[in-house]
Amino acid sequence: MRSFLFDALFKGTATITPPPPGAEALEEIAWALGKRSRQRLGRSLAIREVDAGSCNGCELEVNALGNPVYDVERFGLKFVASPRHADVLLVTGPVTWNMREALLRAYDATPEPKWVVALGDCAANCGVFAGSPAVVGPLTDILPVDLHVPGCPPAPIEIVRGLLALMERVG
């Protein structure tokens, strides 16, 4: 145990310098916010992740956001257990019929103002699962989406860029 602590002290920090917010993401969010009231959230966003049919690849990369390299809590981005505590729903997967109701309930339980981020290619266009009768469709068919983060799955650094853009405009 001591060796871990010494390592942490002497090897320097593993945490990377933050990337600039994604330019495309900034543009998309600016457009989304134009239509809604803007509220100061003290540069902090509470995020509820919802897997609405993902293959779990996106979850792996969202989980990686908390590791010491990306450490997104330092930006004020916090993953919360309940949609009632959330400002942002981060949704992955092509929305399946079997998850549709749970997703809608999570959205309804999230207090206003709220934002929806479609994470990964599946949430954007159903990815390889497009056309399956078990899939409702892309997230935009079900919820108003404020931001897309593309990728299969998006690398953590891309997710950070997108979330920072959201923070820049919202927080």
């Binding site: 293959c55 779990n56 690849g57 792996l60 257990a81 699962f129 009768p133």
Partner: protein
């Protein structure tokens, strides 16, 4: 035949296909005798699926592998789970997806069909099994869980703190994968199968590639086979390290968790630098691989292995020296050896309960046929056992990658697809068993005469592990469920199809 038919009797000198499976058609009485053989422990049930007007059952002993086919009568056939309970969810799923009717099915409730699919008039209502008694209460959890994990519903019945029953309800991330695969071309099939469970994308892509290659008589070049091994072991390392950290996290030991998360990130970063994708998705394709490892990349992987070796030893030392952590893991969530055997549980779930099965050892496929490694088991069957099996496997994988890199030779990455369409019959069919990080996964492929996929059935290791989690948590406290669940780390997506 009440004691069940053995595979040796059944096969009676018949030759196996190039994939190692003996395929034969059986009558209903032999089918039920085979199911009874599973129950009697004569052989393991490896997979069970519907294929047009036939039901198919993959069975194995330590040396024989058989795929038995039974022609259904107007969709009906004698239920396997009526004799061998581990087949239950498979039969319920196949009934939901393909309309087959297992006669005598002990639990007639739907499984993947939640009554939500359009053009389907099934009930959305689902009756959980009753639990009656003084002071019992139910706790409903999910489908959306508190953490960043996949969705599923857990219905606990508890007596105070103690869980008296857990009943799982899965299927929330059912994406209709089998339907999408039917009629798809092989390249598209590979992309879909590679997304059945993102954490096992390499293993799935490999199993699919091997099944297609067996079906078409296609041989990948030697360099590709070695690279497949490197990718698969990197995937195993990443998830085992992540799981060890996550289990410790559930016992509030954040130091180990942070260290493991850092090491896992190291693996994924190296994978990205070497193969162009952090999870190495779509890098194994039928006929070979789609990414090469440069000499620079070999150096990166070796550097990674050195860093992991040092950390692995330190994590083991810290874990051993922490009674407060072991207090949470030792004797928590026990799976008995009998259950592990009955369910033919793969991976660390089986190996922590004394089941010495590893697809890389039992039915070695290249490059594991030329790669020596220790298959270590534990007998405690608890969270501690499953964690220690992972630690053992990390060590073995590190050594294996070194040896694979030693043997790396120059050469092509893929071979051209065979020019002729397969002959009629068995030539167009192949199956493969691959050891993913969580256990053996099975993929069966039937290629049609037009060269497209006629039927693909993937069976995740989780099918035979999820039910054991229900058993493992019984008698434990509700608060220990997260750590038990993490020690299993079953796939929802891989199971939900």
């Amino acid at each position: 035949m009440s004691a069940g038919t053995t595979l040796a009797e059944l096969v009676a000198g018949r030759d196996a296909g190039s994939d190692g499976y003996v395929r034969l058609a059986v009558a209903a009485d032999v089918w039920t005798a085979l199911a009874e053989g599973c129950a009697a422990g004569l052989h393991d049930l490896s997979a069970l699926w519907a294929d047009g007007d036939r039901m198919r059952m993959a069975l194995s002993t330590d040396r024989l592998r058989v795929i038995a086919s039974l022609r259904t009568e107007a969709g009906a056939y004698p239920s396997v789970s009526a004799r061998h309970p581990p087949a239950l969810r498979l039969e319920r799923a196949m009934r939901d997806l393909h309309g087959v009717q297992p006669l005598g099915l002990p639990d007639p409730r739907p499984w993947l069909d939640h009554g939500r699919w359009p053009d389907r008039r099934s009930e959305a209502r689902y009756d959980f099994l009753p639990s009656e008694g003084d002071g019992l209460h139910q706790i409903a959890v999910g489908p959306i869980h508190a953490g960043i994990i996949e969705p599923g519903h857990f219905r606990f019945t508890a007596n105070g703190e103690t869980v008296v029953r857990l009943e799982q309800r899965l299927g929330y991330v059912h994406k209709g994968v089998e339907g999408l695969l039917a009629g798809a071309d092989i390249a598209r099939g590979a992309r879909i199968v590679g997304r059945l469970s993102g954490d096992s994308t390499v293993a799935y892509a490999w199993a699919f590639a091997r099944a297609v290659e067996a079906a078409l008589g296609w041989t990948p070049p030697p360099r590709a086979v070695l690279l497949r091994g490197v990718m698969a072991e990197l995937e195993r390392l990443a998830h085992h390290i992540g799981d060890v950290g996550a289990i410790c996290n559930d016992a509030s030991v954040l130091t180990i968790h942070a260290r493991c998360a850092l090491q896992r990130e190291d693996v994924l970063t190296v994978a990205d630098a070497c193969f162009g994708h952090r999870l190495m998705m779509d890098r194994i394709v039928p006929g070979g691989v789609a990414a090469d490892l440069s000499s620079d990349g070999v150096g990166r992987v070796r550097g990674l292995l050195g860093r992991l070796e040092a950390t692995h030893a330190e994590i083991q030392r810290v874990y051993d020296a922490m009674p407060s952590l072991q207090d949470r893991t030792v004797t928590t969530g026990i799976v008995s050896p009998e259950l592990a055997r009955q369910y033919a549980a793969g991976g660390f779930v089986g190996r922590a309960s004394g089941r010495a099965f590893d697809a890389r050892k039992a039915f070695p496929y290249a490059p594991y046929d030329q790669l020596d490694f220790d298959l270590r088991t534990r007998t405690t069957g608890d969270v501690d056992g499953r964690l220690l099996v992972r630690m053992d496997e990390i060590e073995e994988s590190l050594g294996m990658i070194h040896r694979l890199l030693d043997r790396m030779m120059p050469g092509p990455l893929a071979s051209a697809s065979p020019p002729v369409a397969p002959d009629e019959g068995a030539a167009g069919e192949g199956a493969a068993l691959v050891e993913a990080f969580r256990g053996d996964l099975f993929v069966s492929v039937r290629v049609g005469e037009d060269g497209r996929l006629a039927r693909v059935h993937p069976r995740d290791a989780s099918w035979f592990q999820w039910p054991l989690l229900e058993a493992a948590i019984e008698g434990n406290i509700v608060a220990d469920f997260p750590i038990c669940n993490k020690s299993f780390n079953c796939s929802y997506s891989g199971h939900d199809l």
